[in-house]
């Protein structure tokens, strides 16, 4: 299976373009845009980890190392398309237009955090593993029934491919030729369980075979590979040719979440090594250096711009009005039931000290 599903690369670890046929489309502006979006995602992620350490946000789920897989794929869909993130996919959602403020609000336990800006079709992050694959398929199926050319892009991890919902999602999408792109980020671990213990299959891509879904394996740390291959899958879906499964092979540097201690189950020296070898940002840096287009000033000004953006989001999060208990009662049904009304009244009277 490893031969059947080779890992597709466009730019290798040394920053060399190995698929010359894309040379023409690969403008310096595009490369810089890739870099900027990934840097923005990385800086935001690091900031969130810091905020968690300072007790300013709650438990947080980090993605450092997976920027290329998330940013590259998010750039391959367009406004009007649909995105279905899991709890780890903030780099994808922020690239697709989710606000940084709401991202932060999510991690201080606010409902608003899961709500995308008006007009952006981003689902709230799925917390139960693999459940979102079916939503993505259903939404895509609806688009097909409505004769639009809109598509779904859904994110999930390697562990998710063990759940029934993964298999049901692929099967439905295949049977109904739903325009959905299944983007797997194989980051090597599901909390503590390494992929070798999660599955006996050598690849995740091969799991698409059983459902007759075109499937590929790509270097998830090579943003060009992610972008181009996701774009191809998106275009196929738009043309009415059905779903694609993409396995983006990547790595998360840190713990599963800020509440997890990876020293219990893995040797972190592998992460340290990867920072100097397979890192997605480093790869583009090397590419730009090879092209003599790396520019420290450009980098510094971008860092400054992103820092400002993140700081603004943090103050907006801090200044955000306090959570209101009414949100809990008001949004269970369109019209609250009598039990909920009664509970609301009772709760408010107790709060006012009236009982």
């Amino acid at each position: 299976m490893l031969e059947r599903f080779p890992v597709t690369q466009y730019i290798n670890e040394d920053g060399e373009l190995i698929k010359q046929e894309v040379q023409e489309e690969l403008s310096l502006d595009l490369v810089k845009m890739f870099y900027e979006k990934m840097l923005r995602a990385r800086m935001m992620d690091k900031k969130c980890v810091n905020l968690q350490r300072q007790g300013k946000i709650g438990t947080y789920v980090q993605y450092e190392g997976q920027e290329a897989a998330q940013v590259g794929s998010a750039l391959a869909i367009e406004e009007g398309d649909w995105m279905f993130p899991s709890y780890r996919d903030h780099a994808a959602t922020m690239t697709f237009g989710h606000s940084l403020r709401n991202l932060l609000l999510y991690w201080v336990g606010r409902i608003e955090g899961g709500i995308p800006p008006e007009g952006k079709n981003i689902f709230p992050p799925a917390v139960p593993i693999a459940s979102q694959l079916l939503h993505a398929t259903g939404v895509a199926w609806a688009e097909k029934k409505k004769n639009t050319d809109r598509v779904s892009l859904v994110y999930f991890g390697d562990g998710a491919t063990s759940e029934g919902d993964f298999h049901e999602g692929l099967n439905f999408a295949s049977v109904f030729k739903a325009p959905v792109v299944f983007l797997n980020q194989n980051n090597g671990y599901a909390i503590s369980v390494p992929t070798e213990k999660q599955m006996n299959s050598k690849t995740i891509a091969q799991k698409g075979l059983g459902y007759d879904i075109p499937s590929i394996r790509i270097d998830g740390n090579d943003i060009l590979a992610v972008f181009i291959e996701t774009k191809k899958a998106v275009d196929r879906a738009r043309r009415g040719e059905g779903p694609t499964l993409i396995e983006a092979v990547t790595w998360r540097y840190g713990a599963h979440t800020t509440a997890d201690d990876p020293s219990k189950y893995r040797d972190q020296s592998e992460s340290d090594r990867r920072r100097t070898t397979t890192d997605p940002l480093l790869r583009l840096e090397k590419y730009m250096k090879n092209e003599n287009s790396w520019d420290e000033e450009w980098l510094a000004s971008m860092e400054q711009k992103i820092t400002n953006e993140i700081n603004t989001a943090i103050s907006e999060m801090k200044d955000y009005p306090k959570a209101d208990i009414d949100q809990v009662f008001s949004h269970v049904f369109e019209k609250p039931t009598w039990t909920i009304e009664q509970q609301r009244e009772h709760h408010m009277s107790i709060k006012r000290g009236k009982v």
């Binding site: 029934g164 997890d260 809990v328």
Partner: protein
């Protein structure tokens, strides 16, 4: 010469580990399985050290698939093992609901006793630890409604060990729910040796004569605090009963206390609708209705999903609400 019983002060999560270790040592057929329970020792460290002590054949990291875990545990249990399956959080048991509902709990009857399913499913649950969405669900009533399943909830370390051992030894499936808020909030003395606490038996946390207060899980310590405050303010005393097993309920203890006090407050953090409060009221109706001096009061969570953590404290039954319910019943 008598040998003194060795006791240790343990947190509830340590007592859970201790119970599993005790049973893994004693009975070769006992297995522990679930997501991250092996090398990682579980996300709450409930299986800490067991993988090192018993190896990967008995403390097993499974693929990430709850239906798979429960479904294969049924097979293991039918075929000679005593699996203890961990759900990482109760809120993630839903994919396994079908296996529980359609197979685990009715295998005995469908095979007229030929096949039995002696398995335990352990799951951390409940609000108040600032966990992300879905992690804090308190849906015990979904399971008390499944015929063929016992539902057990400890509130302290001593009970956790004794009840878990009894659950593992039970010949039928048991859902063992571990309130996360209690995992590390206190320590109790726990004997080193094996002991068990009979399932289906409630315990008196404290005794009194004016009101019967019934609760379980993480609401037990909160309730005791509120009740103590109430007792100081009023010239009244309360029975506080930790139900410990929600199916089957301990109808004798419930009746005995209600007959004594005539006044009842039921407290649980789960939503009220379809909640276990209804079953308790039904037991009172059957056993001690004519002793009631006031309508039964209940203090529960809302009929809403457990809110995300910025609002979860408002969701949980507060001291004010408990005291208000006690006042209502006493002044009736």
């Amino acid at each position: 010469m008598t040998t003194a019983v060795q006791v240790k002060k343990l947190t509830m999560v340590q007592a859970v580990t201790d119970a599993m270790r005790t049973m893994l040592e004693e009975d070769e057929s006992v297995l522990v399985l679930g997501e991250d329970v092996g090398q990682n020792g579980g996300v709450f460290r409930a299986t800490d050290g067991l993988f090192e002590q018993f190896g990967e054949e008995r403390v097993i990291d499974t693929p990430l698939a709850e239906s798979g875990i429960v479904g294969t545990s049924i097979g293991l249990a039918v075929n000679g093992f005593r699996p203890i399956a961990e759900m990482q959080f109760l809120g993630f048991i839903y994919p396994a609901f079908n296996q529980l509902m359609t197979h685990a709990t009715r295998m005995r009857q469908r095979s007229m006793g030929r096949y039995t399913v002696p398995m335990v499913i352990r799951a951390p649950y409940g609000a108040g630890v600032k966990a992300p969405e879905i992690h804090s669900d308190s849906v015990e009533a979904l399971f008390t409604h499944i015929p063929g399943l016992k539902v057990v909830i400890p509130s302290n370390a001593y009970d956790a060990k004794g009840l878990l051992i009894a659950s593992i030894e039970d010949p039928d499936p048991v859902l063992f729910l571990e309130p996360m808020r209690c995992y590390r909030s206190s320590r109790t003395e726990v004997p080193d040796e094996k002991y068990s606490i009979e399932l289906g038996k409630a315990s008196y946390v404290k005794e009194g004569s004016d009101v019967t207060v019934m609760t379980w899980g993480a609401m037990v310590p909160d309730t005791v605090k509120a009740v103590e405050k109430f007792e100081k303010e009023h010239n009244a005393t309360c029975d506080v009963i930790d139900l410990r097993t929600l199916y089957p309920l301990d109808k004798d203890t419930i009746a005995e206390s209600v007959k004594k006090t005539g006044r009842v407050v039921i407290i649980h953090e789960a939503p009220s609708a379809g909640g276990v409060n209804g079953d308790i009221i039904s037991v009172i109706n059957d056993t001690s209705f004519f002793y009631l001096k006031a309508p039964i009061q209940k203090v529960t969570g809302f009929d809403t999903p457990v809110p995300v953590y910025s609002l979860e404290q408002e969701y949980l039954p507060s001291s004010e609400k408990i005291i208000s319910a006690l006042n209502t019943t006493l002044s009736y």
